[in-house]
Structure formats: structure tokens, C-alpha cells
């Protein structure tokens, strides 16, 4: 396959950045998108040019590192996958492909296609945990009965890999799908209910502080999410936040 790549190049966080065009040849349709990027980078290195910086780690769709906005969609045109699982057969010979970093104030570009997603970590630090004493006498997990539906829903929410595709796809750069998944996975289970009120209040407060936008229920995040996290999590967070705001004592 022959392709024309239009890639965002930005030397550092302060640099202005621009779209640079790179032609690539000899791309196999069986390659993953990241392998195609590797081919390009090898060519650039051989020419003595700076390779394109992009995030990647596990390359099997579970770590959430790869983060490219490909041809106008987070993780490219395929559904339910991350960029490492996107194959070049999804494109046609001669295609022009735009490759951009996630765009959000809360995800500043570090270099080229790499963005700083520490804002997600700070939201987790604000409440995405349960406080458990680790005195050595850990209770048997099965001692607390949990309805199957709740366990399933919590598990579905917990499949969020924190990649940020929801923020990238949202026209408002809202982090509601991510935060609601993290709120839900804990709020649904008995161990998480203890701190549920404080958790949702603190996590939403941190989310707002980070400069993410507001949810307008377009549903774009759910469609683009590689793990299919449901909008019902956002509704749950809205409920949790509403009731916590009304009833929290401090």
C-alpha cells in the first residue's frame, strides 16, 4: 500500500506545531497502525530526521497508552479497539491519513502525538480508591454477598483503560465517561459504598479543576470507547453527585 500521512509535529509543549506530510510505501495491509508508524520512523531515522513520537506500550489493546486521532476519529475508523489493534486493511491504497494527538486543554501535548494524561491520575487520586486496612487479616472476598447484576455492571465499568478516547472524541473535551466509569466501578460494590459520597464529590471537583468540558449527552464517547463503556455510567455519576451534594454533611 502507498499512503500519504499528514502528521502533527510539535517539538515540545511550548512549540507551535504544524501538520507535516509524509509519503509511505510498501505498507502491508496486515500491519497494525503502530507497525506502520514504526516503518515510517525507521525511514526517518535512516534519513537522519527526528522520528515521530507517539504513545504505545502493550500493543494488545489493554494498556490504553496508544492515543492517536486518526482521520477524524479516536483510534481510527474501527470500533471497540485501540490504535494498536487497528489494521492497515481498514484503509485503501492511496489514502491520505490525518494523524493528530488528543486535543484537550487538560491533555497538553508533550511532543508530536504524545499527550500528558496525568489529569486522569489526579482525578483518581482525588477519590478513585477504597480505604482498606491491610493489617494482614484480609477478609475472605466471598464473605460479602454481591448481586450478580451489580458485580457485572461494576466489572463492565472497571474495563475502562483510561486511554482518553472519550475526551478526545467529545466535542466538549469532557471526561465524564472516564470519571463516571471510575465512580461506578466502586459505587456499585459494598466496599466502595463506604466512601461513595466523598468520592464522587472530590472526583468531579478535580475533573472540573483540570479544565475538562461539560457533558452534553451527544454519546460520541460511548461510540468511540475501545471498551464500550456505557453512558449509563454517566447517569449513575449524575445521580450519585446529585444525592451526595444534597446529603453530604461536610
Amino acid at each position: 500500500m502507498k499512503l500519504t500521512l499528514k502528521i502533527w509535529r510539535q517539538a515540545d509543549p511550548q512549540a507551535k506545531g504544524e501538520t507535516v506530510t509524509y509519503p509511505v510505501n510498501d505498507i502491508s495491509p496486515d500491519m497494525s497502525f503502530l507497525e506502520m508508524m514504526d516503518v515510517l520512523n525507521e525511514e526517518l531515522v535512516n534519513k537522519g530526521e527526528e522520528p515521530v513520537a507517539f504513545d504505545h506500550d502493550c500493543r494488545e489493546g489493554i494498556c490504553g497508552m496508544c492515543s492517536m486521532y486518526i482521520n477524524g476519529e479516536a483510534h481510527g475508523p474501527d470500533r471497540g479497539i485501540t490504535t494498536c489493534q487497528l489494521h492497515m486493511r481498514k484503509f485503501k491504497d492511496g489514502d491520505t491519513i490525518y494523524i493528530e494527538p488528543w486535543r484537550a486543554k487538560a491533555f497538553p501535548v508533550i511532543k508530536d502525538l504524545v499527550v500528558d494524561r496525568n489529569s486522569f491520575d489526579r482525578i483518581m487520586e482525588a477519590g478513585g480508591f477504597v480505604s482498606v486496612n491491610t493489617s494482614g487479616n484480609t477478609q475472605d472476598a466471598n464473605a460479602i454477598p454481591i448481586p450478580k447484576e451489580d458485580a457485572d455492571e461494576a466489572f463492565d465499568a472497571a474495563t475502562c483503560i483510561g486511554c482518553g478516547a472519550c475526551v478526545a472524541s467529545c466535542k466538549n473535551s469532557s471526561a465524564m465517561l472516564f470519571v463516571s466509569a471510575k465512580v461506578s466501578q466502586l459505587a456499585l460494590l459494598p466496599q466502595g459504598k463506604v466512601e461513595a459520597k466523598r468520592r464522587v464529590l472530590n472526583m468531579v471537583e478535580q475533573m472540573d479543576k483540570e479544565g475538562f468540558g461539560n457533558c452534553t449527552n451527544t454519546g460520541a464517547c460511548e461510540v468511540e470507547c475501545p471498551k464500550g463503556i456505557s453512558l449509563s455510567n454517566i447517569a449513575r455519576m449524575n445521580r450519585e453527585y446529585l444525592s451526595a451534594s444534597l446529603t453530604a454533611k461536610d
Partner: protein
């Protein structure tokens, strides 16, 4: 108070005021449809709406509802734009979301402009004016739709309103946390049916009097 300045708090305000404005729309449409039934019945209903103390009080609540809905909408839009300082060179939002959900500001602002025209020509004339020279409320309603451009502006505004409602109605429930596998798909269908009903209902009145 931090609730009302939080992202979710503002959305809850949008939702509650939006649903309240929808309840007003239903009453408004119900009264207007009486024009198709009989002149006397509409004039009577119009007189009731203009003099009943409860309705008169609700007018101010309604105005407050509009102000809150519009101001929060503008603040949210401003914040949302700030959340993405750099736009994408290539973006395909149509692949993951509907047109009505992405154009709420546009449809909202255009409907607001329409409301200004509408208030000037009707509410103002009925409350403070001389009914634009017409004899009764009914004659004023019927009379203004003689003009093809005026009628076209109204019908276009109702189509925009329908788009606004298509997203707004069901979205209001999601914002206050009402999402359930049993009821959400029903609410979405109801939202579409309702927006078509409102759009067609109001347009039908304008078009009926234009052609008659």
C-alpha cells in the same frame, strides 16, 4: 453553593429548566390548537391565560426559567470551547453522534431570536399594545399569517425547535441521572415523537391560516 457552579450542577439546572420550558410548550400548543377548533373557544382560552392569577404568576417563573436555561447554556458552551483550545485538522463527529445533539447552541440561539419576534408581535400587543389593530386575539393570530415570509420564518423556527427538543427532551433525563435499561429507549422514542408533534403542531397552525 459549589453544586451550582460544578459541571454536573450546571447540567442539572439546564435539565430542570429545560423540562419546565417543555411543560410550558405543551400548554402553549394546547391553547393554540384551539384556533383550529373555534374562534370563540380560542379567545376564551386566551383571555383565561391573560387574566388567571396562577398563570400570571407562572409567567415570571417562566421568564426565570428562560433566563437560567439560556445563561447556563451560554456559560457551558463557553467553558466547553475553552476545554479544546486547538481544534482537530480532520474531525468526523457525524460518525459518532447525531446532528441535533451537536447543534444545540445554534438551534437554541435561533429559537431565541424567534422568541423575541414572537413576543414583540403577540405578547406585547396583547398585554400592552392595541392587538396590532385587530379586534380579538384570534384575529391577531390569524392576521399575521397572511404574510408568506412571516409564515416561513415561523415554520422554519418550529423545525429548529423540533431539532432542539429531539436532543433536549431525552438528554434532560440523562442529566439528572434517569437512565434505565427498561425506560431509556422509550424516553428516546418519546423524545422524537414529541419533537415531531410540537414541530408539526405549531407549523400546522401557521400554515392553516396562511392557506385559509
Amino acid at each position: 453553593m459549589s453544586f451550582f457552579t460544578s459541571s454536573i450542577g450546571r447540567k442539572v439546572v439546564m435539565s430542570i429548566t429545560g423540562l419546565f420550558l417543555i411543560s410550558f410548550l405543551i400548554v402553549h400548543l394546547a391553547v393554540n390548537l384551539l384556533t383550529l377548533v373555534s374562534k370563540d373557544l380560542f379567545n376564551e382560552a386566551s383571555h383565561f391565560m391573560g387574566t388567571n392569577p396562577f398563570i400570571q404568576t407562572m409567567q415570571y417563573v417562566l421568564a426565570l426559567g428562560f433566563i437560567l436555561h439560556i445563561s447556563q447554556g451560554l456559560i457551558l458552551t463557553m467553558k466547553n470551547r475553552q476545554a479544546r483550545p486547538q481544534k482537530y485538522a480532520m474531525n468526523k463527529p457525524e460518525t459518532n453522534s447525531g446532528i441535533s445533539s451537536r447543534s444545540m447552541l445554534l438551534t437554541g440561539v435561533l429559537v431565541l431570536l424567534f422568541i423575541f419576534i414572537h413576543l414583540r408581535d403577540y405578547l406585547w400587543e396583547m398585554k400592552f399594545g392595541n392587538l396590532g389593530g385587530y379586534e380579538t386575539d384570534y384575529d391577531l393570530v390569524v392576521g399575521l399569517f397572511d404574510d408568506p415570509i412571516y409564515t416561513a420564518v415561523y415554520v422554519l423556527s418550529f423545525i429548529l425547535l423540533a431539532f432542539h427538543l429531539n436532543h433536549g427532551f431525552q438528554s434532560a433525563f440523562q442529566s439528572i441521572g434517569v437512565n434505565h435499561p427498561k425506560y431509556t429507549s422509550f424516553l428516546k422514542t418519546l423524545s422524537t415523537v414529541f419533537c415531531i408533534f410540537v414541530g408539526v403542531g405549531f407549523s400546522a397552525i401557521s400554515l392553516y391560516f396562511f392557506f385559509n
